[in-house]
């Protein structure tokens, strides 16, 4: 029997300044299904979503929702049809309560006054109906990220959405929190709500989605049922070429014995406790663990960006000063997790961003040397293959992958000893990921000690030569050599010592 169609988008087209971003995209979603939308960055996913939610007008094509052709010209039109969106960066009002947030923009009024009791009851009923666990009176800023997402979902449900669009919903959730999100998604599906699920994480997509649509280069590449395809084939569809060792060898490699950096019982109250490990020359030490295990915080303390309470950091046999300027002078670099806010200055050009960490090389007595700056910029663009290859373009205008290359460029021209990397490929498409891994691997080959924090298990396994797993602010387990699987890391991150045979 043919499934009932909730949404059909046919031959959708869209151009920006003569560049055709969507050439011809079809998408259809059944009632009560989880439908995944996949594609590299630039394939047209976000443009398609923005057309569906009324942010951009479409140039051509048809949108049929619940059997009728519709014009969606504003976010309000979309909401009225029953299309709800869970945004990547949460769109809640932090100082208002859960009820106020859920009812925002659709308050019930009587004689000009708010009917607080009635709105409250409405929200409580909604929470009960879908079996959520949340306090309706809590102020949103006091809630964890995962709870805030729950509020977002409730908000969409409150608009009686029949389709909820989720854009990278697990990006900032821990594994545990993601699990409960998956439960929620399954419950929504059982209630007949359709989900359009956008994610770079293949294993999630394969777990949740009933069908998936793959976009490439502004066209629909394929629509497949879950059972009909395996992950490597999806990747192949997305990038249109065979990926070089995408799921590379999982064996950890032996590195040199020369210790570059040593942490001894590093403590910071409430964040991490007695963290000790060594990093050798030329190795890539992967740090695995759930979000909130204290990994980012340890990196920041090593780099000198945050103070720690007790313990020692020893670099080449001497204590390392806890000041950013000094660690940089000693050959440290940091690729921060929050690329947009901490990694680069969006309005400055690639060249100027690179100069930011290299004033000691490009200036004399505080006077900058334009020639030297230009040289640094050109070298970085060339060495890292940043596209477009013009060092004068503001970094904010680049794609995610190229932005990250520019951030790497800030350090590559230095005499680097230790590079601290935090979630280097979050939100970056698969092709660019591969290039970034190669850059990291080449650095290690040149003798740089790399510490890589990543929540992407495939990434951790692919790049690291040794892995430690942190859990609740402590080093829980070290994997020094031999074969290791994603399961091993997840078990350790969740606190299970040994796999049952």
């Amino acid at each position: 029997m043919e499934a009932e169609k909730l949404l059909v988008m046919q031959n959708i087209q869209k151009s920006f300044n003569d560049v055709q971003v969507l050439k011809s995209v079809d998408l259809d979603i059944n009632v009560g299904e989880v439908h995944a939308l996949m594609g590299e960055n630039g394939a047209g996913k976000s443009t398609l979503i923005k057309i569906l939610t009324g942010v951009y007008p479409k140039d051509g094509g048809k949108i049929i929702y619940l059997g009728k052709e519709r014009e969606i010209n504003s976010r309000k039109d979309a909401a009225n049809l029953g299309i709800g969106v869970i945004y990547q960066d949460f769109s809640l009002i932090p100082t208002l309560s859960v009820v106020q947030n859920i009812m925002l923009g659709k308050e019930k009024n009587k004689f000009g006054f708010l009917e607080s009791k009635k709105m409250e009851q409405h929200v409580i009923n909604l929470i009960k109906e879908y079996g959520f666990d949340i306090n309706p009176h809590a102020i949103v800023e006091t809630l964890s990220i995962a709870k805030r997402q729950t509020v977002e979902i409730l908000k969409a449900l409150c608009e009686e959405s029949s389709l909820i669009i989720m854009d990278e919903p697990t990006a900032s959730l821990s594994a545990k929190e993601s699990e409960s999100l998956f439960e929620i998604i399954n419950r929504l599906r059982d209630k007949g709500v359709s989900i359009l699920y956008i994610s770079h994480r293949l294993e999630e997509v394969f777990r949740l989605a009933d069908r998936l649509t793959v976009l490439r280069d502004g066209r629909k590449e394929a629509v497949v049922e879950k059972g009909e395809i395996n992950p490597p084939d999806v990747i192949r569809l997305m990038i249109g070429k065979q990926l070089s060792e995408a799921t590379a060898s999982n064996a950890l490699k032996k590195s040199t014995n020369e210790v570059v950096l040593k942490l001894e019982n590093l403590c910071k109250k409430g964040l991490f406790n007695n963290v000790s490990f060594e990093v050798h020359k030329g190795e890539i030490l992967g740090i695995g663990g759930l979000v909130g295990a204290g990994r980012t915080e340890v990196l920041r303390c090593i780099y000198g960006a945050d103070p720690y309470d007790s313990g020692n950091i020893v670099f080449e046999g001497e204590p390392l000063p806890n000041v950013v300027n000094k660690t940089i002078q000693k050959g440290f670099g940091l690729i921060p997790e929050d690329r947009r806010n901490q990694g680069f200055v969006p309005l400055l050009s690639i060249e100027k961003n690179i100069v930011l960490t290299n004033f000691d090389k490009t200036s004399k007595n505080g006077v900058m040397n334009a020639k030297k700056e230009k040289k640094l910029g050109q070298e970085a663009v060339k060495d890292l293959d940043i596209r477009p290859n013009n060092p004068l373009i503001p970094v904010g205008n680049l794609s995610g992958g190229n932005q990250q290359k520019a951030v790497l460029g800030k350090w590559l021209c230095r005499d680097l000893k230790v590079l601290l990397i935090d979630e280097p490929t979050a939100g970056i498409d698969i092709g660019a990921k591969d290039e970034i891994y190669k850059i990291i691997e080449n650095l290690a080959k040149d003798g740089v000690a790399v510490i890589l924090v990543s929540s992407d298990l495939q990434e951790l396994l692919r790049v690291s030569t040794r892995i430690v797993v942190m859990r609740k602010g402590k080093v829980f387990k070290e994997f020094a050599s031999g074969r290791i699987t994603q399961e091993d890391i997840l078990m350790a991150a969740s606190g299970i010592q040994e796999k049952e045979a």
Binding site: L96, L104, G105, E107, G270, G292, G473
Partner: protein, 333 residues
């Protein structure tokens, strides 16, 4: 709302400290006359601070309030001088001028997309300039014409000791608080300040909210102009100069954060009282004005530092909270 509660307690504590210090060291402080005078002194600033609270909650700022008051008062003075308009008519006109002036700020901010700071800085100059142009002159020289309209002067009076301006301040504050807490505009004011983009995604016309809060403030300035005029009995082009900063200080001491989304009218009332008691006490002690300025400045710094410390503390707490959750559920994963 924990932050708000603590902040409220801090404001009240500061107020109490002042009351206790001045109350115990001066016999004069707790006399009925002085208390009534105090309430009168805080009322003009207080009335404007009701409007400005709305603006600051939307993460905005208004530097033009003092100039709007001055301009409105000057127009009224002209009408009183050159016409025989009844006081009621003058009052309606004052409210109208104030409201329109506030609306103009709103238009500059929402239609011409000027930042609040720049828009209201320009209108500050604009209204002050206009007040100067229409100042009453005798043979070319600006003269200070005494207002002798009985209807207006009555506004400066009192009912069984309680000054009219104080009564109006209380009414305006209560109305403001009701609008802020019990109506859609109130919720939208918080939403616009705390996260404007999200508010827009929820279908809120934040431009309309912005225009509304500036207009409300203009209206409050109109009220303030009438009472200031009645109290002073005359109007000069300088009337109301510096008032805007007194108001902003009162609102900030009262708990509205510059980052928006926090605070309420009740807090601003406390702030206005604080400012008035400080001036009053220091005047009574014959201490130099410098003392007053330095104390005011320091208190504002303390309040803002408190806000940022609290935000840091809050972030840490949420972190620890999620940590506890993981700890609780860790075993079963």
């Amino acid at each position: 709302m924990r932050q708000e509660k603590i902040r409220r307690l801090v404001s009240i504590a500061l107020l109490l400290v002042l009351v206790i210090v001045f109350g115990t060291t001066s016999e004069y402080f707790f006399t009925t006359t002085n208390i009534l005078t105090l309430l009168r002194e805080c009322s003009v600033v207080g009335i404007i601070s009701v409007g400005v609270s709305f603006i600051i909650i939307t993460a905005g700022i208004d530097l033009s309030t003092g100039a709007i008051v001055g301009f409105t008062a000057m127009i009224c003075a002209n009408l009183l001088y050159y016409t025989n308009m009844p006081a009621q008519m003058i009052i309606v006109i004052a409210l109208l001028i104030g409201t329109l002036a506030g609306y103009l700020n709103g238009i500059l901010v929402t239609k011409l997309r000027l930042p609040d700071f720049i828009a209201t800085l320009s209108t500050q100059f604009l209204f002050r300039g206009l007040a100067l142009i229409c100042a009453i002159r005798t043979s070319g020289v600006i003269t200070n014409k005494v207002i002798d309209n009985r209807g207006i002067l009555v506004m400066g009076g009192s009912i069984s000791g309680l000054y009219l301006v104080t009564i109006v301040f209380i009414i305006v504050a209560v109305l403001g608080q009701i609008i802020l807490k019990k109506t859609q505009l109130g919720v939208y004011t918080y939403a616009t300040g705390a996260n404007r983009k999200s508010a827009e995604l929820s279908g809120i016309d934040t431009d309309k909210v912005k225009r509304s809060v500036f207009t409300i403030t203009g209206f409050c300035c109109g009220i303030a102009a009438i009472f200031l005029m009645a109290k002073l009995g005359s109007v000069t082009p300088d009337t109301g100069t510096g008032l805007e900063f007194e108001v902003i200080a009162a609102v900030v001491v009262g708990g509205c954060a510059f980052s928006g989304g926090r605070g309420d009218i009740f807090g601003s009332v406390i702030g206005a009282l604080f400012m008035a008691i400080l001036s009053n006490g220091i005047l009574k002690y014959n201490l130099p004005t410098a003392t007053q300025l330095i104390v005011k400045g320091s208190v504002i710094v303390i309040m803002v530092v408190f806000d940022s410390l609290y935000n840091g503390y809050m972030e840490k707490k949420i972190r620890e909270k999620s940590k506890e959750l993981e700890e609780l559920s860790g075993g079963e994963a």
